[in-house]
Amino acid sequence: MTIQEILVLITASLILGFLFRQTRSVNLLLVASLFFIYWLQPETGLRYLGYWLPTLSLVIMVTAWAVTASPEIRTQPAQLKTLALIAAVLAALQGMRLIDPARLLETVAIPRSLTTLPYLALIFSYFFAISRSRRSIHSAGLWAVFAAIILIFIVLKTPTLAQQASRAWRALSGQNQSLATSAELSWLGFSYLAFRILHTIRDKQAGRLPDIALNEYITYLVFFPAFVAGPIARADQFIAHLREISGTFKDDLIEGSERIVIGLFKKFVLADSLALFALSAQNALQPISALGGWILLYGFSLQIYLDFSGYTDIALGLGRLFNIQLPENFNRPYLKPNLTQFWSNWHMTLTNWFRAYFFNPISRSLRKKKMPAVAILFITQISTMVLVGLWHGVTINFVIWGLWHGLGLLIQNRWSGWIKEYFPPSDKKWIQALKDSAGTVLTFNYVTLGWIWFVLPDPDLALDFFKIIFGIEI
């Protein structure tokens, strides 16, 4: 996001946050968030895809709500009001074509009403039908939505599939297919949307999901401060904040503003400055010395942290203006003395998501099969971290990055056990401090070296960069 976009979000949050406190209207947040998903969605070379992707997000969200809500909630008249509100937002977007010729409220390009009307009529008929259905959704329905989201995810994150999808869209819209690229299929916020939906489906299957109205559900999924870069809040906690306002607006304003200012400083001063000399595919082979390579690498390591945690600070601050306490995502991860603690403090909501919905279930399942503890640890840690890697993109380098961390966690786990056996923790504080400091340096450098696989697009380039920083001739 640009600084201009963030300033618009801050201004909107100040006004809407104040109004939300006065009116306690979830619909206010719903309307604002829906507008912003169209406003923030980047335009690509694919004609009107920028409009249809957020619209498809709407279809997915309403479907996901329908399969997770009980028939009693689903058929309440309030849900119809929410559908009417969604229809009004889409109508307003159409209206903007006419009332905002200067495109001051510029969203994505909106197709002509006559073109969109039949599709929107179909979509709302579908919304109406599922919201009136009194039938309980079977487990198969939940799994179907789950599978559909995973499928979309795979297409978006696999460059060759994304390019094919882009080609297909070009064919449909009569554009030149030979110009199709995977980058064109840019669906803003889909990753976080997917994680939140999958979380509600799995919690529904486990019987942990509370009853949620449609307007609350969609607001949870696309709450605009956290839409682009997270964090991934838990639905039950988010809804509780939404329903229960506490403290004063003045307190929220002070706390929120402080967090926003910190976030802006981290992102737009520190991270953007570091970006000028951070490792990238463009500069990876350009250093004339090993030291130069290390500077690029440390530059990237700090930049990615400050960039991401800066966005999180801004999101948390904006959320606070609505009296919504979004979960923390970073807790000084680079100062942790081992890799396990690093991952417990880096992108914490993502780590917790994978722990809850992949690592723990797989571990339980393997334990039932009476496998040796080391084998269970090997399988679960490697597969979890590879999956985290694949979430960033289905490429060899992200798989290697996942393996790097999976193996690192495994080695650290074994090493910790061994060292405790032969060198029990010392009572002397300075010895412990020394051990922690050494651990921090080692962990930071291990994580930093791992970023090479993350930031460079192919293994050969990554290996060449490893050679540069270790002074080996390419």
Binding site: L276, F277, N283, G292, G293
Partner: protein
């Protein structure tokens, strides 16, 4: 427990701080802020002045603060020139070295020739070329170059830098109105002859708001310096580029002048004379740099994209007369370089051509150190 904040007082204090910084501190420090530089301290100085339209690819950028430009140059590293003879090369993009690596530029290749005086004191060549064609821009840099106590200045130019309408359009000149105004006053030059009434900067240009771009550029220059130090790259070298035009139009006007209309009054020759005044006792060699002599379509009418034949021939005659009248040390290398050695314009050349030029220029330079 959070201390209670008095918001009205906080707002007043903030406003006072902003006013203090913008209206008092910044005007005081703005004349020296460009001198604060990481270059030649923790980052090696640049071999040529910073310039680029593609900063993210070139690890370089164009900025207008003269102090910051010079502070980033390697010449600022050495405070005492006692162990070398300093030769400063002024000029346009061909001297700066478009499409050339720092070591391939004229200054770079002259340095590689390891020239020295009869006593063995080495000559060190410094590239003060700066892209954009304007003699006023060159004079501005010449004035600043004198602070580095050069033993010889070589000023390279081409006709396109001479017309009056080119004098104040270089961004470096446009964005330094105070310095240019002082320069014009000092050498009795009249900005009105170049189409400008007043070169005095406005009040707002000296405030924090007016200086925001300047300050941001100075900061970015320092950050790009890290990449310069790591990679040695200060220019984007495209894999392919469009070559200089060899087939030319049949247009014979030059800057709106019909054939034969161009006179000495219409060229900024007085800037060259001001350069001689500015240099004082420091010897100054004026060099008409090589141009592409095209062999393509309409080459009987024009030498290249820039010049109709009549205009360039007339310019060379005028320069010859002017240098004789003013007793300038003037060298003309206009047709030194074969046509195939020009790259993307009629004045940019290959490293091999620069080498040829350096070899032609070296004996003339040595004459000044071995009279």
């Amino acid at each position: 427990m959070r201390a209670k904040i008095n918001y009205p007082r906080l707002a007043v204090k903030t406003l006072l701080c902003v006013l203090l910084i913008s209206l008092v501190i910044l005007p005081v420090v703005k004349n020296s802020i460009g001198k604060l530089s990481l270059y030649n301290w923790i980052i090696p100085g640049r071999e040529r002045l910073p310039f680029s339209d593609t900063p993210q690819l070139a690890y370089n950028l164009s900025l207008f603060n003269l102090d910051a430009n010079l502070a980033s140059h390697a010449i600022s590293e050495r405070s005492s020139p006692e162990n070398e003879f300093r030769v400063i090369l002024l000029g346009d993009s061909s001297t700066w070295g478009t499409l050339l690596k720092p070591e391939e530029t004229l200054a770079g290749q002259l340095n590689q020739m390891e020239l020295s005086d009869p006593d063995g004191t080495p000559l060190h060549f410094y590239n003060f070329g700066y892209p954009t064609l304007s003699l006023t821009k060159d004079l501005l840099l010449l004035e600043r170059a004198l602070a580095y106590k050069p033993d010889l200045i070589i000023w390279l130019f081409t006709l396109e830098s001479f017309p009056d309408d080119k004098q104040l359009t270089s961004p470096l000149v446009e964005n330094n109105p105070q310095a240019v105004s002082a320069l014009f006053d000092k050498y009795n030059l009249d900005p009105r002859s170049f189409g400008e009434e007043d070169l005095t900067p406005s009040y707002w240009e000296s405030t924090l708001f007016g200086q925001r771009r300047n300050l941001a550029d100075i900061l970015r220059l320092q950050l790009y310096g890290v990449m310069w130090a790591i990679t040695g790259i200060d220019q984007y070298y495209p894999a392919e580029y469009t070559g200089a035009a060899r087939d030319l139009s049949d247009e014979v006007r030059f800057h709106g002048w019909e054939k034969g209309e161009m006179t000495a009054d219409q060229l900024a020759l007085e800037i060259l004379a001001a350069g001689k005044d500015a240099a004082g006792k420091t010897p100054l060699i004026y060099v008409n740099e090589p141009i592409l002599v095209s062999q393509g379509e309409n080459s009987d009418l024009r030498y290249n994209f820039y010049y109709p034949r009549w205009a360039y021939d007339q310019y060379r005659r005028l320069m010859s007369q002017f240098s004789t009248n003013q007793d300038l040390n003037y060298l003309d290398y206009w047709d030194l370089i074969p046509g195939e050695e020009f790259t993307n314009t009629a004045i940019h050349v290959t490293p091999e051509a620069v080498n040829l030029f350096a070899k032609a220029l070296a004996p003339q330079i040595l004459l000044h150190f071995n009279p």
